[in-house]
Symmetry: C2
Subunit: 230 residues, 2 copies
């Protein structure tokens, strides 16, 4: 590549990284706001999360357009091409994480007895863990930090353990409060969505690792311990 | 491109299409087999579905390697590049569909009362619908058939309606049979996994449409009617 091409490529890849950091920030915020809306039964806040997801979708499309243009015009090789492909794939996953947050926000109207369903109070802590994974894995991408990506992947186990605990608490609660089953079933899905966000952050960690090193992260079951997947 | 390059590109893209068709066939089969294992409480069959998912993951990696090599060596432009990028993204989604089937298979041991939980009998029909969507959308990709992709996207509404009906039936069943809540909660997730498979097939339909026409399919909410997302 000529010096000019290298500079143009660096600018483009910088733009790509910037877009992904922006998407990630929005997704992280959406998770926190959706859970907050759920805990407070705040329908307006929930609607804002749902509306805001369009921005995340829009950035994903921008990433795709830019990545395709970059490949077509700059013809990057080896490491650079791997990074562009990683950006493309990571954008797809972050868009999906935004969908999970939106899905949580859509359940807000269904949880009318938010003040009375005690296990609801467990969800914000789980949401914080999942949100941190998203935050950290995008930091790892920005810094091409394979070690940090591995740490994110490891922390998925905690999110999974949390999910299993919440699953049991919610099922017990349903047995004791059969009239609230309809509402609590939604909370089961909220917990599952958070667990999936952790899985997706782990997938991104694998992509970051591959983009940074050219080697796949040692295989581990997505979703951690077998119990999780139940 | 020289004639030689065109031919080489056509061969590579043919290989890429072949790999995606193979992945799709395996994913479709995994859905059917997982639900069958669930209905019959067949632990061996469930284990085979779980094991078989590694093959799907392996093909996704092959698709990625081939797509990257193809972009690097053949430098495809416009329509061709769009198709390679679509193949890359579709492989990611099909891999995810395989994960959902695996997740259903992992729930098989938890459903001990398979003969007694009547709502379980609703799941195979829903699984057939979801499996058909996967089948049809990959046909649409192979044929670059944007119209067929739109039809698949439309049929997602039926899967969503089915899901909503099953959700209500399962919640009612839980209220009437509180002792079975632990098991039936797993069936809620199975139904949700099938609904997500329909959503993912719809995402692929959008990618096929874009790859075939260069235009985005008219926006529709993923997951169809608002009620679905609950």
């Amino acid at each position: 590549m000529t010096e000019h091409t290298v500079k143009a490529f660096d600018e483009d890849i910088g733009e790509l990284r910037g877009l992904i950091a922006e998407m990630g920030g929005l997704a992280e915020q959406a998770i926190a706001r959706a859970i907050d809306a759920l805990a407070k039964h705040d329908l307006d806040a929930a609607r804002r999360v749902i509306e805001g997801d369009k921005r995340i979708d829009g950035i994903e499309e921008e990433v795709e357009r830019l990545a395709i243009r970059l490949i077509a015009l700059r013809a990057p090789m080896a490491d650079d091409l791997r990074e562009v492909v990683a950006a493309l794939k990571i954008a797809t996953v972050v868009e999906r994480i935004g969908d999970y947050a939106k899905n949580i926000a859509k359940r807000v109207p269904a949880i009318e007895d938010h003040g009375r369903i005690e296990p609801l109070s467990l969800l914000p802590a789980m949401a914080r863990m999942a949100g941190e994974m998203v935050h950290d894995v995008l930091d790892a991408f920005a810094a091409r930090d394979a070690e940090k990506a591995i740490r994110v992947s490891d922390s998925d186990r905690q999110v999974d353990d949390f999910y299993n605990a919440i699953f049991r608490v919610l099922v017990t609660y349903m047995m004791e409060n059969p009239k609230s089953i309809g509402q609590v079933a939604h909370l089961l899905f909220v917990a599952k969505n958070l667990e999936r966000i952790g899985d997706h952050a782990t997938n991104v960690a694998e992509m970051v690792h591959y983009a940074a090193t050219g080697e796949r992260m040692a295989e581990r079951e997505r979703g951690g311990s077998p119990a999780v997947t139940l």
